[in-house]
């Protein structure tokens, strides 16, 4: 393939991606693709989005060197790309502002979104408030309980939160329910999908909106250290923050890309969400990708202490990067992630989201595969405020 990896725009990434959705949705996907591809090349759209990010999101996000954390986990230099400092507290806002602008361009007045941890739901509700759009967020009933504070945030922002009681009552079922809503209301409604999964053009478009993370980080690292990092690390559920930071470095062959998935109780148990490590190729939520499934192709329930990684599928581009060997993916257990959450809090004064803590836990693994003194950039994709109840119970603090 002569095309650079950074230039792939779908609908397929190698054997993965495509559009496996009911026919009634095709017109909306075509319209979205056409609108997005035009916006992608339109300087006016790009400058409008850049302005929003500057004046509302709070970009560019800074990079913080985490020296005390680094010293505690090995012999590396660790740099944190601070997406936790964005408005609403995670990387999710990057994509949401982009898609909300597209919603306006398409003349739609209502957005729907799925959410697991609640971060994407909060970001969507925020954008809806900012742009004056109606907003309905689908959230698995299990997740509404473990992320009750985010439910309150969404409601305060004026969104309707619909608890989903079908299937495993988590993120995958919230996506199903959002798709059902979309089929019925497609004329007025944009489905603001929050990750790089789903039918084309979502994996491409959502990746591009998060590409700003990697682009900024690459320039910041060059400025700060004078060279590219040896590795870039991120947590992977659906994979949006990971693909966003990966893409800034994807054509730099010396930079290793590491994605850390949720291994729950361990990838050799049944209680995990390590789709790339333990899944097999299949079709889920409109794309061909790796899926946690049984021998009949029924989706398995995933398990993770972090709602945001609790997903039995993964973005198709990650499936491609895995097969290609361009990115490495490794499972991190709940206990390792929680330990890393505590460690970063105590060594750096930064409380990360539990999702993000999976990437931080991965650093001790990297210290055994990278030369001493190497630089690693971790996408600090979200802050941990929303996880205080889980962490409080886990560490016996409440």
């Amino acid at each position: 393939m002569s095309e650079k990896l950074s230039e792939g725009i779908g609908p397929y990434f190698g054997a993965y991606g495509g559009r496996f959705v009911p026919e009634p949705l095709i017109r909306a996907l075509d319209e979205l693709e056409a609108t997005y591809l035009a916006a992608r090349k339109d300087p006016k759209f790009q400058s409008e989005l850049a302005n929003l990010h500057k004046q509302y999101t709070g970009r560019p996000s800074i990079i913080t060197e985490a020296s005390r954390f680094a010293a505690a986990v090995g012999d590396l230099r660790v740099f944190l790309k601070r997406e936790d400092l964005n408005h609403t507290g995670s990387h999710k806002i990057n994509n949401v502002m982009g898609q909300a602008l597209l919603t306006k361009i398409m003349g739609k007045t209502r957005i729907i979104a799925e959410t697991g941890a609640g971060q994407h739901g909060v970001a969507s509700a925020t954008a809806a408030a900012y742009f004056g759009l109606e907003c309905v967020v689908y959230m698995g009933e299990v997740d509404t309980q473990r992320q009750a504070l985010n439910v309150a945030r969404m409601k305060l922002l004026g969104a309707e939160v619909v608890p989903v009681t079908t299937g495993s009552r988590t993120l995958k079922d919230a996506i199903n329910e959002a798709m059902r809503d979309w089929v019925a209301n497609v004329d007025t409604t944009h489905y603001l999908l929050g990750t790089v999964a789903g039918p084309h053009p979502f994996p491409t478009m959502v990746r591009d909106f998060h590409g700003i993370i990697g682009n900024e980080a690459r320039a910041q690292m060059l400025e700060l250290t004078g060279s590219l990092p040896a590795a870039v690390a991120a947590c992977v559920g659906g994979g949006s923050n990971a693909i966003g930071i990966f893409h800034g470095f994807i054509d730099d062959p010396t930079v290793q890309l590491w994605g850390f998935e949720a291994a729950g109780d361990g990838i050799d148990t049944l209680m995990h969400a390590a789709t790339l490590s333990k899944g097999t190729p299949g079709v889920l939520h409109g794309a061909k990708t790796y899926v946690l499934q049984d021998e009949d192709g029924q989706t398995l329930e995933s398990h993770s202490i972090s709602a945001g990684l609790d997903y039995p599928g993964v973005g198709p581009e990650h499936a491609f990067l895995k097969d290609l060997g361009r990115a490495n993916y490794l499972g991190i257990k709940d206990s390792e992630a929680m330990e890393a959450m505590r460690l970063l809090s105590r060594t750096e004064g930064i409380i990360p989201a539990i999702e993000t803590a999976h990437a931080l836990a991965g650093i001790s693994h990297l210290s055994s595969v990278l030369p001493k003194g190497s630089s690693v950039v971790v996408n600090l994709s979200g802050r941990g405020d929303k996880d205080m109840e889980t962490a409080g119970r886990y560490f016996g603090l409440l």
């Binding site: 559009r19 496996f20 959705v21 009634p24 017109r27 059902r180 899926v291 499934q293 192709g297 029924q298």
Partner: protein
């Protein structure tokens, strides 16, 4: 064995309408579902649509979701669908289509699934989340095996896409009556008729209307302009409420709309 398409045409040429009856495989058990489907064929369904339960049925409303979830929790396995087809075939010449989301078939192996289905005695597959654009392999395999394949055309489909669905389908084109998921609707959208009209513009492939069709009046109305009415949710509800006898009564009632 007669194909779905030939049967639809034959009945239409005699001035008869068609009732395509959906029931989930394995609901509530494998044996019960086979008996239910046999009864549906005996009492007036001209074609059977055997639904394969799937964990993530995005096109289905609450009634079908609940029934297929129950089938799965009662232990339905994909291979059971071939037993069900065989069991129906041993008692009836009714043409049968399997309705399946794409992943179970991918996971079983497309070619193997198609062969096993043919061997069991079914005529083809309805694929709600496989569009013709992604179906090159399935089109080739079904062509080689002589299986029928049904794609969807929707109110939102462009003329180009309606044409693609008609050209790619064998058996019939599934005209989605409304923008929404399966389930009963008090009134059928005028959209249903417009989808069928657009199919007719491009093709003489039979067109059957599904999603939201549940009453005698709707079955009669749909058959006045289309080649058949597809009913699912109403049959499951009748079965839930009245068991096999309740189901038979509903089939008999709707079949009165075919004369």
């Amino acid at each position: 064995m007669i194909s779905v398409e030939s049967l639809l045409r034959e009945r239409k040429s005699k001035g008869l309408g068609n009732l395509i009856g959906y029931f989930p495989a394995g609901y509530p058990t494998v044996e019960d579902s086979a008996n239910a489907l046999i009864a549906m064929a005996q009492d007036g369904c001209s074609v059977l649509e055997i639904g394969i339960p799937y964990s993530d049925p995005v096109m289905d409303g609450p009634v079908i979701q609940k029934a297929t979830e129950q089938a799965l929790s009662n232990g339905f396995k994909l291979k059971n669908v071939f037993e069900i087809v065989r069991s129906i075939r041993s008692q009836s010449t009714v043409p049968m289509l399997v309705m399946s989301y794409w992943n179970p078939i991918v996971s079983y192996g497309l070619e193997r699934f198609a062969q096993d289905l043919k061997e069991a005695g079914a005529q083809g597959i309805i694929t709600p989340d496989l569009i013709p654009d992604e179906a090159a392999e399935w089109i080739e395999i079904s062509q080689n095996l002589g299986l029928e394949r049904v794609f969807l055309a929707a109110p939102s489909s462009s003329e180009e896409r309606v044409n693609l669905a008609a050209e790619s389908s064998r058996g019939f084109v599934y005209a989605v009556s409304t923008m929404g998921i399966t389930g009963e609707r008090a009134q059928l959208d005028a959209l249903a008729r417009s989808v069928v009209d657009r199919i007719r513009m491009f093709s003489n492939r039979p067109a059957c209307v599904g999603v939201g069709v549940s009453t005698l009046e709707q079955v009669r109305e749909v058959n006045s302009y289309a080649d058949g009415a597809i009913v699912g949710t109403a049959f499951i509800k009748a079965y839930e409420q009245g068991g096999l006898e309740g189901l038979r009564a509903k089939v008999n009632e709707l079949a009165r709309g075919l004369d």
